[in-house]
Symmetry: C2
Subunit: 245 residues, 2 copies
């Protein structure tokens, strides 16, 4: 790239990267607050998470516009182009994380009057902590353009999948014990699924960092430990023997 | 835009638009087949839907690359730029629809041995038909760059949300009647949610068509009829009076 336009391209990229880092902080906060609201039945906090989602939507739109303008104006090549394309992808993942956090917050209204067993609440808090950690790690990896660290983040998603599957089984067992738990457990099930999806978006971001740094896509094959889609009645009944009502 | 490069930009756009139309056809097919597999317990068909997802992933990547290249090379402005940006957004929505269809297909293995009541199966088929219609309509609107029709598609999403909410309530009621239904109904619940999400992606595509044609974003406020997030135990018990076991 000719040096007389470097500083300008750099300025534009810096702006975009700063916006993404703000979006990342916002997405983290929304997830933490949504789960806190869920656990405590705090409907006011839930409402504030729902309201905050527009900030991420607007930021994504802004990153998109800036990125497209930069491509048209500067015609960046190779890593410079990948930086801009990567920014578009990452801001889209962060926006989706905001949507998922908002979705959890919306369920708070339905479950806040129903006491949940401690074990379940702890499980969901744990899942959420894992997802927040993944998000922090992947945003750090982005800040440092550290693709080795991005690979680690991608591999750690397994743990989220495994914890989610175990929560899925616990929730189903709890529903079977007492049908009065079904509605609130269903909302918790969707909330847990949303957190698991947030983990997937952190993985997407990790893959984008790898692409920015290397120009290659990460290998698609990785072990998936979300086995919830294959949980059957039989497997649950065996596991819950003697407790299902 | 200078006339000497017009034909080349047009060729590139034509290529991208053709790819998107192929992706749309593929996404429709995957949804239809996933729901057929779910309803009939056809695990072979489910496996083929799961395998087909890579086609959409590859197509999206190709559209992205082509689009970015075109922006860099041709520096399109105004509607020409919006066409390319719109293509990137639409291919991303179609790829997500493929993921959601794959997710339904994955659940077939868990539920195929468990007979579902006809009413539930009919409900999910109906929901899926609505989503397929939305997808067909929005792809036609894209082909014709018809933003009036896109507004209609966006407004019709209400019906999907309303049908989804009613299936959500039915599934929960059915789970309460007999805890042995809980596992398979949970998988159906997630499947129904995936179909409802596919409707949201059709809406996104409608909004993108509006943006391409007008350069404006559609108004964000529209009535949402997915009330499932606020369904409570009490509201269900009142509705299911006398049937909950």
């Amino acid at each position: 790239m000719a040096s007389h336009i470097v500083s300008s391209y750099e300025d534009e990229l810096k702006f975009i990267v700063r916006r993404i880092s703000e979006m990342g902080g916002q997405a983290e906060r929304m997830l933490e607050q949504a789960v806190t609201a869920l656990v405590r039945g705090d409907t006011a906090l839930a409402q504030s998470v729902i309201a905050d989602d527009v900030i991420l939507d607007a930021a994504q739109r802004e990153v998109d516009e800036k990125a497209i303008m930069t491509i048209g104006k500067r015609q960046p090549m190779a890593i410079d182009l990948r930086e801009i394309v990567g920014a578009i992808r990452i801001s889209s993942d962060l926006e989706r994380i905001g949507d998922l956090a908002k979705n959890i917050a919306k369920r708070v209204l339905a479950v806040h009057n129903h006491a949940q067993p401690n074990q379940l609440v702890r499980g969901i808090e744990h899942l959420s902590e894992l997802a927040v950690d993944q998000l922090k790690d992947v945003l750090d990896a982005y800040g440092a353009r550290d693709h080795e660290r991005a690979i680690t983040v991608r591999d750690n998603d397994e743990e989220i999948d495994a914890v989610y599957t175990s929560i899925f089984r616990e929730l189903l067992t709890y529903m079977m014990e007492d049908p009065r738990n079904i509605t609130s457990c269903t909302h918790l099930l969707f909330s847990a699924k949303n957190i698991e999806r947030i983990g997937d978006h952190a993985t997407n971001i990790a893959e984008t960092i790898f692409y920015i740094k290397t120009g290659q896509e990460m290998e698609a094959d990785r072990p998936k430990k979300d086995r919830s889609a294959t949980v059957t009645q039989k497997s649950l009944e065996e596991a819950a023997e003697g407790t299902a009502g």
